[in-house]
């Protein structure tokens, strides 16, 4: 007992629960998976050989890389100017635009994919409109092809590109650009020689983020693409469903992982070389992925703050060009991007109120029938209830375990801290299908396949990582002398925690819990692998319906999911803004 207490006192002891869950559910199975792919105990590369000698496999592999690269490229081409225009906009406009980018980021990916099915389908919004206008005789093939895959993927990934770019650009000191201008650099030269190089870290982290996410993409390509547009993850998932030849699955999973790691290190090293960075760029990029979550807080706390940086970047690009065209073009561009990001959601929300037997746009009459059907149908509201239950339990488990771990990490030296953090967050940095397969293997060993407990554990490994990142960021700002101060006033360890530490890190804990809940509530890939036949979560039910497209109730569900981010934004805003406002309020409050 006393040795147990001592363990709790040591920094590493606090991380034990997190690592125990991680190891059993994910770590050991990942190693097993690797051994299986190598035909252990014989150890050979025959599985890899077999994979690469099948032309179909190689084609899928190259296709995966190609689709990911193209999607990343489009995100960058669209995202960079968008981010630039957001940064150069006036304060209120910039805040609005950032919020408009965050809303889709917080919206269920499934709901957004569903929106594109509704828009691009043969009987979808666009075809119906064109048919109705008599412009075409038969539906255009807008869906189930590569183009649709790109539209859907870029739609989902764009916020992940724009947000890191915006934060990198906002961090650029305007005096650099002003200095360049003062030295006679024209607006374009100043941009090319000063602004652009300084924004490169944002370009890198955004691109890597998007690329690695794309590699693991599963649902969107499967839902919007044709049969020939399979990604490696689709291929792996299909193998799980049909044959279940574990060595083939393991091999494909590790090839996918290897591609992710190789490309990451190549891009990371290359760019860092030009900047002469000494720090390990790969590790940075892994972490960069999570900085979005961290930065969310930053974006939201921007809202009430007076605008400090002047519109320097706008001057940068206005000065010298007498014409107003660039400005007009810029505005049109931003409007188009925002329409692209938000319109699909709006269409689904509007359609969900259709009165007819099918979904129509625009609806011929309004009714709440699909909402009634959602709340009345046990299979729907049951699934929703299951998801809420799982989500809440995941949030509780991972907030407790993740917070303990974050505390332990905060007391370690910087070296071991970043190493262990990197390990704890692997489940959110690996392609999701790989995590799914490994977890599947782990839960088989535990006999938890098809149980709610199994799903909670499977979701928690990723959620713990998210909580660790958010709480760590909060703890980094937490002044440890406050703890010493409390102790010097005779507050014991528990009193210190309850009266000082907890109240101060509470926003971080709630933020972590909300993101943990979100992670679980929207999870479909891992769940579909480990859920068996008995547990039906809302995302699984939606997925099934998207494939069959029989029940328009899904539109009501998707609409509800679209409205959810507004709730989250309000939660975060209240959470972070209030604490900020409290601290910044300079009005003297009269003594009680």
């Amino acid at each position: 007992m006393s040795s147990f207490y001592k363990l709790g006192q040591m920094p590493i002891g606090l991380t034990v629960p997190a690592f125990a869950i991680l190891l059993v559910v994910f770590g050991i199975p990942t190693v097993l998976l690797f051994l299986i792919s190598l035909n252990a105990p014989d150890f050979s590369v025959t599985n890899y050989y077999a994979f690469f000698t099948q032309p179909a496999n190689v084609r899928v592999l190259f296709q995966t890389i190609e689709v990911s690269l193209v999607a990343t490229g489009i995100c960058l081409i669209v995202g960079y100017p968008t981010a630039y225009l957001i940064v150069t906009a006036s304060k209120s406009l910039r805040i609005t635009l950032i919020a408009l980018v965050i809303i889709p980021y917080l919206t269920s990916g499934l709901a957004r994919t569903y929106a594109w099915i509704v828009i691009l389908g043969d009987r979808g919004v666009i075809n119906n409109l064109l048919l109705g206008l008599g412009l075409i005789q038969s539906p255009l093939p807008l869906i189930y092809n590569r183009m649709a895959v790109y539209i859907g993927m870029v739609h989902i990934m764009l916020p992940l590109m724009i947000l890191p770019l915006v934060s990198a650009m906002m961090g650029i000191d305007r005096s650099f650009v002003a200095a360049a201008r003062s030295m006679g650099a024209g607006p374009f030269t100043a941009f090319r020689r000063v602004f652009f190089p300084l924004s490169l870290p944002g370009v890198r982290s955004g691109s890597l983020l998007v690329f690695v996410f794309c590699l693991g993409f599963y649902i969107t390509p499967a839902a919007l693409g044709g049969l020939r547009d399979a990604m490696l993850s689709t291929f792996i998932a299909a193998q799980v469903k049909s044959s279940f030849d574990m060595s083939r699955i393991a091999t494909a999973a590790f090839i996918l992982l290897a591609v992710a790691i190789i490309v990451l290190s190549m891009v990371g090293l290359d760019l860092s070389g030009t900047q002469g960075r000494a720090a390990n760029p790969v590790r940075k990029s892994w972490l960069a992925r999570l900085s979005i979550i961290r930065n969310l807080k930053l974006y939201l706390s921007e809202l009430p703050r007076p605008y400090r940086a002047k519109r320097w970047a706008a001057q940068l690009y206005q000065a010298g060009t007498a014409s107003r065209w660039p400005q007009i073009i810029g505005r049109v561009f931003v409007v188009l991007v925002m329409v692209y990001l938000l319109f699909p959601g709006l269409i689904v929300v509007v359609m969900s109120f259709s009165a007819g037997a099918f979904l129509e746009f625009p609806p011929s009459g309004l009714s709440l029938q699909w909402y009634r059907s959602f709340f009345g149908d046990a299979s729907w509201n049951g699934a929703a209830w299951t998801s809420v239950q799982i989500g809440v339990e995941v949030a509780i488990l991972s907030t407790i375990v993740g917070t303990l771990a974050a505390f332990g990490l905060s007391r370690m030296g910087p070296g071991s801290r970043s190493f262990l953090t990197m390990i704890i967050i692997t489940p959110i940095t690996f392609p999701v299908i790989v995590v799914g397969i490994a977890t599947y293997l782990g839960l088989i060993e535990l006999g938890l396949i098809g149980s709610q407990t199994g799903i909670i554990l499977a979701h928690s490994i990723g959620a713990i990582g998210i909580v660790v990142v958010i709480v760590s960021a909060t703890l980094a700002n937490f002044d440890r002398t406050l703890v010493q101060a409390a102790k010097s006033m005779r507050a014991g360890p528990l009193q210190t925690f309850m009266r000082v530490t907890l109240p101060l890190i509470r926003p971080g804990l709630i933020g972590g819990a909300v993101f943990a809940f979100l992670q679980s509530f929207d999870e479909a890939v891992i769940t579909s692998l480990v859920g068996g036949l008995s547990v039906r979560t809302l995302p699984l039910k939606m997925l099934e319906n998207m494939r069959n497209q029989i029940d328009p109730t899904i539109a009501a569900v998707a609409s509800l999911l679209m409205l959810l981010p507004l709730l989250w934004i309000i939660v975060f805003y209240v959470l972070w803004w209030k604490s900020k406002a409290k601290a910044q309020n300079t009005l003297p409050a009269p003594a009680a």
Binding site: A486, K487, R490, T496, R499, P503, L504, A589, A591
Partner: protein, 365 residues
């Protein structure tokens, strides 16, 4: 007129506040602290007397904060022992000790109001709500922050925050007070004002105080005694006057004020007493007289040593004039008060310097 403010409210817990406390003596016995292989404090032995204001002074990294943290119980000594009132406290966690601490950053709880901050130590000691309110009110009055109880710490100025931190450390009437660079974050004016304030608080509460600083002026103003530290060791302990007037080492001489070191071959020191081995002569700049070379000798010339040199530089510093005078290979600093009719020397001028031989101190090199 002060009477009114100082009259204590007739309340039972008043006894608690003004009760004659047994102030403990604090003793360090051969205390060392290693951070890994780095020694932060080495074999430190020191007694803090009852009720005194002791300042630990030293350059950055000399182990001041570490010494304070050891005393506060936030760090455990690697060797040696610390005794408070004769009891070893090495194994007593900080939250079981009775002490008030003012942190360099003040460490005011940002989520509690000023009153909430002041109540905290009372609450932890089980004082009931009604008594807490009264004591907080009185304390706020004492530090001139009567109307600030409802404010958040972030709504206070630096000096106000400092006073809240001090009030919070004193409110539970601890037997001793630890201060880590208490005025470090304040600007010069405020600093002087707070020094006076702290001095009067110390007198009023009669509390044993250990203060850490690297500001020599602060140390000279506030302290009964000063401990000068250098790379983890104690260099000298003494009263401010004694430290300034009779520094034991060259380091102390230079750390507290300015010092001229008189060494061969430029100076053959003519002395009254025998120069101890391993020492050098030291004279403070204000003890040196600067005159034109031709000026007639004074009556006490036989008790003075005199040299000639060239003015290198002259700096006006308010009522003072500071000269750098080159004598052979050495530059001596000379400081004199500006008086009417006194000549001003320019760089390049030949001058004569002289000083009383009894003003030369021998300090360990």
């Amino acid at each position: 007129m002060n009477m009114h403010a100082r009259t204590p409210l007739p309340l039972p817990e008043d006894e608690l506040l003004h009760e004659k406390r047994v102030l403990p003596q604090i003793e360090f016995r051969g205390v060392s602290k290693m951070y890994g292989k780095v020694p932060a404090v080495r074999d430190l032995s020191l007694t803090v007397r009852r009720g005194e204001f002791l300042t630990i002074l030293g350059p950055s990294g000399s182990g001041k904060t570490t010494t304070l943290m050891l005393l506060a119980g936030f760090e455990a000594p690697s060797a040696g022992d610390i005794l408070i009132a004769g009891q070893s406290v090495a194994a007593v966690p900080s939250y079981r000790r009775d002490q008030g601490i003012v942190f360099q950053s003040y460490a005011l709880f940002p989520h509690l109001t000023v009153a909430g901050n002041l109540e905290f130590p009372l609450e932890m000691r089980g004082v009931n709500a009604a008594d807490r309110k009264i004591r907080v009110g009185r304390m706020l009055e004492r530090v001139h922050l009567r109307d600030f109880g409802g404010r958040m710490p972030s709504q206070l100025s630096g000096g106000q925050q400092q006073r809240v931190a001090l009030a919070r450390a004193l409110i539970a009437d601890p037997p001793f007070l630890l201060l880590d660079e208490p005025l470090g974050a304040l600007d010069r004016n405020l600093r002087e004002q707070m020094q006076i304030e702290m001095k009067s608080l110390h007198k009023e509460f009669g509390i044993t105080t250990v203060c850490v600083t690297h500001d020599q002026e602060e140390a000279l103003t506030l302290s009964d005694r000063i401990v000068v530290m250098r790379s983890g060791r104690i260099e000298q302990i003494d009263t401010p006057e004694a430290l300034y007037d009779r520094p034991a080492t060259c380091f102390v001489a230079k750390f507290l004020g300015e010092a001229n070191i008189l060494e061969e071959p430029d100076f053959r020191i003519e002395f009254d007493s025998a120069q101890p081995s391993g020492t050098v002569g030291m004279i403070r700049p204000e003890r040196i007289r600067i005159v034109a070379p031709k000026e007639s000798k004074r009556s006490d010339a036989d008790r003075r040593q005199s040299v000639t040199g060239t003015v290198d530089d002259m700096i006006y510093a308010g009522p003072l004039r500071k000269y750098h005078v080159r004598v052979g290979g050495t530059v001596l600093i000379v400081r004199e008060h500006v008086a009417a009719g006194q000549p001003t020397f320019r760089p390049g001028d030949e001058v004569r310097l002289d000083w009383l031989r009894s003003d030369v101190r021998f300090v360990a090199a």
